[in-house]
Symmetry: C2
Subunit: 489 residues, 2 copies
């Protein structure tokens, strides 16, 4: 008889009933080939004594195993492992102390995906973390959002949401959001032109996955948004890079490429380009719209932080121009609300959205009806717009302060052009100041700079760093600049 | 001079400032080629008079346009459209009353995706909706979840979440969930074997996308889970179907296929298979584990409603057996918590998860830290397990009641085997009672049956209907059975 006293480990403090623990562990022993078909099991009395348990507990375990066909009970003869189980070669359980095989022995092939940049891992203990450009959480209307959640988390809403399958977003949220977008972006869309996603990223992935086939060529900017670039590559596309200068993506260069290559898709961030923060000039916008119509070019317009424009009144998106339906407009509410609120969207023709919603159903079967309900109510009440106004005022001032201080204190090592909006500055370090070194030294001084670590593992060569100012107080900015000054002195 | 009074529509109730409305609309007119380069604009005084506005408002609009290079101001000569803009052929604005091109004229190619099943759209006004198998919302611990949200929605949590990039789930949630899974499923995983996703669906898609290349062959069941099947097809795979009987997927048939074909992946739901609700027998489980080791076969084990097993104590997942790391185990908390709480997960080797997290970053850059925080706290406090216990008791009783009533009242038209767990019954209608007709007639009588509409648009031929009992009271079940009895009498 096997040493069941040692084989079966009972945890009386576990939330799993003891008899279930016994049954589960016996099944494992069978699956491992330690208990073989037709092998006898100890009597309930003897096993109970061995384990210091009541006999009824062991009986309950055995009864479960009988019901599951693992064990047979022979009248007056006791219990034995079912004879019907296929014979398994016994393995020494000491060879593999793990209950599972999740130790990396998997033999099947899968993609390694080393081309996708690693995102920064933040260890605790830094005095200040400068992010890639995220909102100030101190002004977030927490109480108002909570009030909406409280209203929504009722049985009726939960019940209703179980029966509905609004893969592309709930009707009421799309209604509220489409009005907001029409008012703020010079669009004239209907709710059926709108699909809700988990952040802009899911919208980029879905749009690209519908359009791209392996081997297709995609026009992107240089430098560009690394996560979008990686998505296009993951889908098998080849990236054709076009330079970005102070007026945005070089549209003349785009035209040159279009004349010679068969381009399947253009990806562009016209407002506050990532990572460089530049805005596409009016002349280039107009020219690009012309090219879109001439070449019937599919375009993903990523307008992730349109809502934050400080210097001038907003440039309108390409999507508000004449593009014959070729511009897929993608945006995000996350930049307004903060990282935990991942609400993105895609705007396109009803035809394209039909397919986009279908593809989305394979990736994320339902949207977040609670978040949509809460934020939809804030949009309808005007609270959302008021928050944007408040944030713009704060961020505009912080932008000014950051640009002023960096320009005056760090001009020896940094080139900086003030962005027209957004939440980050693009610090171009001069050649003698390699960014990787600066990040590492700053880290030792309590300053964690995460706004360029995005680019770890990607092939772009630049010596720049995104400095997310929106969430930094003047004191924070002063601290960061002081550290950088010390490092670069 | 153009009739600006008619071209510019000012909405004084809009949340967009009037001067911005004017500026935006003038840009649109430029982009449409209605206002051409070097064209003169009306004076601020005259346009203000035309529109019934203060002159300063118009000046603010013009100043914005000048800052954006759309308009030039010539001293003492007034304002004109910038000469630098590329010339655009004028179009009559009456040809296209829409401000955008989202009218379906897009000329680029994209996948139609007609192979993906359409999900049911539920119009209001039904007396009862029978779903595919979702939890009873009346027992959901709303107050406890709200309390957690209230605790979490503070500045510190929001601030922390902005700086962190836990693509695969927050550390604290993975810590809580991995313990729960080890305790309940006979697993022995570490947090690094776990990735959090938006529901099980995202985990299925990501796992399949890492493994499958176009042309690869995937073993699935017949009938099978339509949304997973569609995902494999979308990724270019060919489906090889193996029958399902009362003991689950036919593993002998699986072996036959493995002997002759190069199978890249097997997809299986061992507990409460979708749609048929059958559970894989012990003998077949053991045999399948043997095949997995022999063929080093990659397996997606979809165990979406493991937590609900009524008849016996749980069968353990394949993942708890010896599989050399080849089983990717996928589950969901949504079936416990309800549709709005989309928390799924993938368990695999650390190696596979490295790639899975990378791919996830392209699809959904961050997890829902609020939901993870709230539900993680419920898992740690034991509230989650208590809720499962409560739900199991209720669902078990409802399952009994439903099976009893349907067996006694509808045996003329329905074959039914009582499932060992889960949230739905699989009603196999006899040939004379086509399901499509029954759904349509029931609908007229106030009963909306959604548990088979999943299959609309897919190629599976069966005459079955999923009857989600978990969310139905005895009165609900009685109503549904009465309607079905009337229809099939």
């Amino acid at each position: 008889m096997l040493p069941f006293k040692n084989l079966l480990l009972i945890d009386k403090n576990s939330s799993t009933a003891v008899f279930r623990q016994i049954a589960s562990q016996l099944v494992l022993l069978i699956q491992k080939g330690i208990l073989l078909p037709e092998m006898e099991l100890p009597s309930t009395r003897s096993l109970a004594a061995d384990l210091g348990l009541h006999r009824k507990t062991v009986m309950a375990a055995y009864n479960d195993l009988i019901a599951e066909d693992w064990v047979e009970s022979e009248q007056r003869k006791g219990y034995r492992i079912s004879a019907l189980l296929p014979i398994i070669k016994p393995r020494s359980y000491t060879n593999n102390n793990s209950l599972t095989g999740y130790q990396g022995s998997a033999d099947f092939l899968f993609d390694r995906l080393d081309h996708i940049p690693s995102l920064p891992v933040i260890s605790p203990g830094f005095k200040l973390i400068v992010n890639d450009g995220f909102p100030e959480t101190a002004i977030f209307p927490i109480e108002k959002v909570l009030k909406e959640y409280r209203k929504l988390l009722g049985h009726n809403v939960l019940k209703k949401s179980a029966a509905s399958w609004d893969v592309g977003g709930s009707a009421s949220f799309k209604e509220a959001l489409h009005s907001f977008l029409n008012e703020t972006r010079g669009l004239n869309i209907r709710p059926e032109n709108l699909m809700i996603t988990r952040g802009a990223q899911m919208a980029i992935y879905i749009a690209a996955a519908l359009i791209l086939k392996p081997g297709d060529q995609v026009l992107v900017s240089d430098p560009g948004y690394a996560i979008a670039d990686a998505a296009f590559r993951q889908l098998g596309a080849e990236l054709i890079r076009v330079p970005v200068d102070n007026d945005g993506m070089d549209i003349a260069a785009v035209e040159t490429v279009l004349k010679t290559k068969k381009i399947k898709l253009l990806y562009i961030i016209p407002h506050h380009h990532h990572p460089t923060t530049v805005t596409l000039s009016s002349a280039r916008r107009t020219k690009l719209l012309e090219l879109i119509r001439t070449y019937q070019l599919a375009v993903i317009e990523d307008d992730y932080d349109y809502d934050f424009q400080y210097q001038y009144s907003p440039y309108l998106p390409l999507a508000s121009g004449e593009h014959d339906g070729n511009v897929i407009y993608i945006g995000s509410l996350t930049k307004v609300l903060g990282a935990p609120f991942r609400l993105g969207y895609m705007i396109s023709t009803a035809d394209f959205l039909y397919s986009a919603v279908k593809l989305k159903s394979l990736i994320d079967l339902r949207t977040d009806v609670l978040m949509e309900g809460a934020i939809g109510a804030m949009i309808s009440s005007g609270e959302f717009s008021r928050h944007i106004k408040k944030a713009n005022k704060l961020y505009g001032a912080r932008c000014d302060y950051g640009v002023g201080l960096i320009s005056s204190e760090l001009s020896n090592c940094i080139d900086l052009t003030k962005p027209q909006g957004g939440m980050a500055l693009w610090l171009r370090f001069k050649e003698d100041f390699p960014v990787a070194k600066i990040i590492s030294k700053a880290s030792e001084m309590g300053l964690r700079l995460t706004g360029s670590a995005w680019h770890k593992g990607n092939s772009l060569k630049h010596n720049g760093l995104r400095f997310g100012f929106a969430s930094l107080s003047e004191t924070d900015i002063e601290f960061a600049v002081a550290v950088l000054k010390k490092i670069t002195a």
